[in-house]
Amino acid sequence: MAHGGMTGLPVMKGVAYLPASQVSGGRDMWSEPLAVPPEDRQSAVWDLLHEVLDPEIPISLVDLGLIYDLGLVDRHVKVRLTFTATACPCMAFIREDIEDRLLRESWIDRVEIEEVWDPPWTNDRISERGREALRRLGVGVSG
């Protein structure tokens, strides 16, 4: 599940984590669609998902550890997604934000989201980058 800035996509180092976005998923800070389809589309999808912020905590879904895996066949992306809680009130927002971000790209036609619960999400899944961002926001993370 290696991913990250190898695709020419604008990497949002730090920017995404400024609590400036007032729009669901941080979509006011999403990058412009790529003019040319990337060579490494798998990594590009991970980078795109790095731009999608959790609706309640302004860090990306990837850094929050909610994206368990993704697959790409032709122009069809399949995202394996979990949630922090079984009754997360933002489930619909998160799904919509993922779909909207990915479908902005001309090289993606279809997004399929599979809801998964195995392994159960815990704080341990938050990346070090996510923890650092949360610390800057005054939120400590145990584990």
Binding site: A85, T86, C88, V116, W117, D118, P120
Partner: protein, 265 residues
């Protein structure tokens, strides 16, 4: 339990499939009703913090119900119909959730006894061979750990408070136990079919699991779980519970009757 994994209910023989369907509905209904009973105490709990805890627990229970109702698709059932259109006498929730909790002692007893029983069933289900349960239920059990912490703490607190508190809590516990034991570990063929198929533990093992967790807490009020008897008069084998069903108000809320015209899913 026997080895091997059951990927889908369609792989099961008819009798085991039907028993599994009953179990899934029973657990889903239990979660839905448990959430409703907790939600009654968002206001009126002994402290603001406790009311917030009740709110969080209600939210968890409804999340669990959602996942469990969704599992009914594997039985060619429509989860929306099951959730929003059934009458009370088709619910498979524990009898002890048929009416609201009257006071905080009943809430605490319910959290220990009924929620504890539901969790014992879930532990057994998660450890069985049915893959959809193995992959979904552990998250529910992780969330239930917080319910249990609150339940055990409050039970201890009330058990060591006034004599009146002890009496209320003990009475509530003894009232809930017999029917809840019958619901949790039914002495019927469906329960045995499930364990024979490796989908759950045996009813006896489920009860032992319940006793190991809940027994030490109830012992504070000299309630001996090892000798507590299940009550199964009027047993309805099709639902895995006693006769009757939840009160009208709870059913209307569970189904979302008031906002039916605004329903979107």
């Amino acid at each position: 339990m026997s080895g091997g994994t059951v990927e889908t209910a369609a792989d099961l023989p008819p009798e085991a499939r039907e028993a599994l369907r009953r179990l899934v509905i029973a657990l889903a209904d239990a979660k839905r009703l448990m959430g409703i009973r907790y939600s009654d105490w968002l206001l009126g709990a002994p402290s603001i913090e406790t009311g917030i805890a009740a709110s969080s627990m209600a939210q968890d229970e409804w999340g669990h119900a959602r996942l469990l109702y969704a599992m009914l698709k594997a039985f060619d059932m429509d989860p929306v119909q099951v959730e929003h259109e059934r009458p009370s006498d088709e619910y498979c929730s524990p009898d002890a959730l048929d009416r609201p909790f009257e006071d905080w002692a009943e809430v605490v007893a319910g959290c220990v006894v009924i929620d504890g029983a539901i969790s014992a069933c879930l532990r057994s289900f998660a450890g069985g061979s049915y893959e959809p349960a193995r992959s979904r239920v552990p998250k529910m059990l992780a969330e239930e750990e917080f319910h249990w912490d609150m339940a055990a703490a409050w039970y201890h607190r009330l058990a060591n408070a006034s004599e009146e508190a002890r009496t209320l809590l003990r009475d509530a516990t003894l009232e809930m136990l017999p029917s809840t034991l019958a619901w949790m570990a039914p002495d019927d063929s469906a329960a045995n079919v499930l364990s024979d198929a490796g989908l759950t533990d045996s009813p006896g093992a489920i009860r032992s699991s319940f006793e190991a967790v809940v027994g030490p807490v109830l012992a504070e009020l000299e309630v001996d779980l090892s000798t507590a008897e299940a009550r199964s008069e009027g047993w309805d084998a099709s639902r895995g519970r006693g006769p009757g069903g939840p009160d009208d108000d709870a059913i209307e809320r569970a189904r979302g009757d008031r906002n039916r015209m605004l329903f979107v899913e």
